[in-house]
Symmetry: C2
């Protein structure tokens, strides 16, 4: 299957599932749900849930094996964007071409919409069918992995480290630690949990975990490059902000040409590490190239 | 056992468990962990974990049956205090006699410390021993109950409703809906999950759930009364703020004497609904009276 077609197809079933988990609500709860849904349905590419599904399929599983967990990743990703955009954090006014959550709903509701989304992510994973389907061991392993990737050992830690590094010149290994936590941990966990829930062998899970580590890094490098070479219109968010905030990025630390070369090498490593997989892993291979070549 | 002795004993084992789950950390993560631990070990009474343990004991279980979940309630409660105190929310400078989290660590880190705590609460519940001990059905039921009580159907919703009601005159049923979500849901879930994990029968779980509903309400009424009659020194936080913010409270809506009468009646109902329990439920009875009579 062509990647574009695959991404479209999966995006639609992920959107349907997300809509089922957090439906439109009338009555007193409508404002909170409106705020949550405003950011959750703002045109996200659903890359994390799709990675989770694709990893499950690569080891012979299906999207049914992973759907609550796949959606949980999107909810966690969305909450992190809402909180990152707050005035006390990155103070961003534009996200995916639309005003950020706090610009529309105010800071207090935006904080709470984020809190609500994060909590709902764990609520939808508390799913008896999922536990029965994959067994207690894999269920617990996945729950723990999602929480670790998102929390004080993962994404939240990365965000703290990133804030503290702003305006300072940091060395490359420090920058890599920041990215591995801030953006890498959740992307990596998306594929690794997909492989676990899809029924992969220990060896397959380990290889897909390494693939996830590489594409997490590739995603960050391409993000840094796009912030310089992309346009606000294409990306739907302000570009050039990394330089303005003196953020440490791959192009600023290595130079643009070296950053592009690294991106190419890391993409090759991601594809290499799953070379033992059959055709069912072709989508994972295509996604690696897609991340390298993306324009938005 | 005397209640005071019981509360002390359980507070110590809860503190030990919390310290084990979120230990002091050196290296790059220390600032985030410091911020988290600053609020988590700020002298909280651990009422939610203790309620969870006491409910488990009331149905013949032990603290070992509930400890990760009991601690999760304290982490969720603490994160909610950190976020509630933020300038965009209640803008409080003092909590338990100490500067609030954002006064010490800044707004960005306070938001992230809250996010981290909430996520860690779910990480520690992802516990294979707990699942094996109580079985898949009860495990999933408890996970779902904690997330529902904390999230967009529970505490977070209550906070949104409370913000929107500030400065408006609302009717009594609206006020009760706010409190049932904002403070009631988590207190109620503390005892109900305790009864589930402790191995209670369906009838016992139902009765303890009702007990939890009553004491959640009692807790809110006594909180409202203390905000008027308590002193900043005793409570470790500013008093008189409800009136200043034109919050709808039980004393403001019903008058102080009626509020006190209601508190007494609700406490009696809480004790009545567990009258079929044996001596093992005595602590729950004493806690109900403790909430009614508390001075801080």
């Amino acid at each position: 299957m062509q990647l574009k077609e695959y991404l479209n197809e999966k995006r639609i079933i992920v959107d349907e599932a997300l809509n089922g988990f957090l439906p439109e609500t009338k009555g007193p709860a409508h404002e909170l749900y409106d705020a949550i849904r405003y950011s959750l349905f703002a045109g996200g590419k659903r890359i994390r849930p799709i990675l989770c599904i694709a990893a499950a399929e690569a080891v012979g599983g299906t999207s049914d094996d992973v759907m609550p967990v796949a959606c949980a990743f999107e909810m966690i990703h969305t909450y992190s964007l809402i909180h990152d955009d707050l005035p006390a954090m990155d103070n961003d006014e534009l996200r995916r071409g639309k005003p950020t959550n706090h610009m529309v709903y105010g800071e207090a509701i935006a904080i709470l919409a984020g809190d609500g989304l994060l909590t709902e992510a764990f609520r939808i994973m508390a799913c008896a069918e999922l536990l029965a389907r994959v067994g207690a061991d894999r269920f617990i392993r996945v729950m723990e992995m999602v929480a670790s990737a998102a929390g004080a050992r993962g994404m939240v830690l990365g965000q703290v480290l990133d804030i503290r590094a702003e305006g300072k010149k940091i060395d490359t290994s420090h920058m890599e630690i920041i990215h591995a936590h801030k953006t890498g941990a959740l992307l990596r966990a998306s594929v690794t949990t997909g492989a676990i829930l899809g029924g992969g062998t220990d060896e397959q899970i380990d290889q897909i975990d390494k693939y996830g580590k590489y594409i997490g890094l590739a995603f960050q490098i391409s993000d840094d490059i796009l912030d310089i070479e992309g346009s606000t219109e294409e990306l739907g968010k302000q570009t050039g902000v990394d330089a303005e905030r003196s953020k440490n990025t791959y192009p600023s630390n290595y130079g643009m040409n070296n950053a592009k070369k690294m991106l190419k090498e890391i993409t090759a490593s991601a594809v290499e590490v799953i070379s033992g997989f059959d055709l069912k892993a072709d989508i994972l291979r295509q996604i690696a190239f897609y991340i390298m070549e993306r324009k938005k």
